[in-house]
Amino acid sequence: MKDYEVIIGLETHIQLNTETKIFCSCKADSWEAEPNTNICPVCSGLPGVLPVLNAEAVHKGAILAAAMHAQINTKSYFDRKNYFYPDLPKGYQISQFDQPIGRGGYLDLPLENGETRRVRIHNLHLEEDAGKTKTERGVRLLDFNRCGVPLVEMVTEPDLRSGDEAAQYLIRLRQLLRWIGVSEADMERGHLRCDANVSIRERGTTVLNTKTEIKNVNSIDSVRQAIGEEAKRQIELVESGGKVESYTLDWDADRGKLTKMRSKETEADYRYFREPDLLPVVLSTEEIDAVIARLPELPLARRARFEQEYQLSAYDAEILTSERSLSDYYEAAVAAYAGEAKTAANWMMNDLSRLLNDLGKTADQLVLKPENLAEIISMVDKGKINAATGKSLLKKVEETGKSPSEIVDDEGLGLIADSDALRKQIEGILAGASAEVASFRAGKESLLGWFVGQVMRSSGGKADPKRTREILLELLNKE
């Protein structure tokens, strides 16, 4: 068998997290709503109505274009894509065709082998979503709630080489979308949808062979599996002397199977033309510059900086930059904390992450501020509290909103570092354990641990373990 490589391009649809739809003032998100309750004459295509563009959709589209390093066009246009389908109440979709908001750009994917795959973007355009239809007992039921939800369609160049890479692309894209705050990017809710174009060629050649399009690969696993299946099918077909035909395929995630939808030969002519009901979308160079200037540091750049600046391992840096709020939190905590960045990272990755999971919150939603975390770690470092108390403080601060030191004072959680008080306590314990003292003095030095335990128990864990040990040894070795 020849050595083949798989050539993949992805077409993604990204639902922008605006408050309202792109051309009317209905809610953009109606996931929980009853069918056809989030509609108006505009999005349901009544005669005589006109679209009115949502400024926020343009703004978020521009942010995404900037984050993809795309060229943002100062003037872009909406066009009508004409076709009949029951989920499209106007009989045309308002989309962007030859002058979209963004052109070019790329997303870098760090690969497992340490290399980076640069996936180029062909263009990004704004458009409206269609409604939902479901088939029941041989009829279609139409729900227009989703009609008019703002989408960015983003198409990559054929730069991906495996199902795994395609999955990586979606993971990185999802991370980026959430990072820059333009989409919830929840694939289960269809905020991020994907079609994949797949072809194969002999490794070493540069031709682009006939591709098939796989529709509805709407989870990370589906992308990986569907592309794998399709690549395998194409290779087997070509190896057995067949020829790949230009199909549209549907991925059935439940059965893990591809089915042919239609031959692409009969592709419709959408008769695109400029939408006369809308004005051109104009962004001044100042506006575009401001979007770019306000763009946050992007995940991969921040990851690299974390490795360098904070001497974190690649693994730690990856975890701490998985979400923007987590990484912002980390940086604020490090800034407030005098000790090692690595120590703060450990607290973040273990204890704080657990707290976030338990509460179902993101880092920016915590009552426990990065400064509080820094204070807790510092108290442990200085022996003011023990590590266990430190960990328990996270939750207490979160619940009460009090500062860590306040809670330590109020609840008397500080370690007993006062030598006199501790010495008295220890003397009392030794007096009540003459048998053990005798054994120890007779040479059974392993009993030291037992004595420490007794002190801890009687102090309710607040005795400074190091000091306890010193005093115990001093008193036991006296005679």
Partner: protein, 102 residues
């Protein structure tokens, strides 16, 4: 001068794309009228256009409001929209299924 005529095959294709179906009588009439209109439209090809002329979507470029603020204003009677439909079920519009599609 000869004018372009739409072939009967193309005409049939257009009828399909337009989601129409025509009686023979309608077909004959519309086919002729389309070709007559095309004769008029052909005048466009005779017009000497300067190189730099830009297409004009609206003759008078509209100067309207900038894009609207992102504020939710629900339509008061969404049910009145669905009530217009010839057939509904549980608040959804009912249509026959599409043969041979997804």
């Amino acid at each position: 001068m000869t004018t372009k005529r739409i072939s009967p095959e193309l005409f049939e294709k257009l009828v399909g794309l337009a989601a129409l179906e025509l009686t023979a009588e309608e077909s004959t009439y519309l086919f002729e009228e389309m070709n007559h209109q095309l004769a008029s439209v052909e005048a466009l090809s005779q017009i000497p256009l300067p190189e730099d002329v830009e297409p004009s979507l609206h003759g008078l470029e509209p100067k309207g409001l900038p894009p609207r603020p992102d504020e939710w204003k629900p339509f008061a009677h969404p049910e009145a929209i669905i009530a217009l439909a010839p057939e509904t079920e549980d608040g959804m519009i009912v249509v026959p299924d599409v043969k041979g599609a997804k």
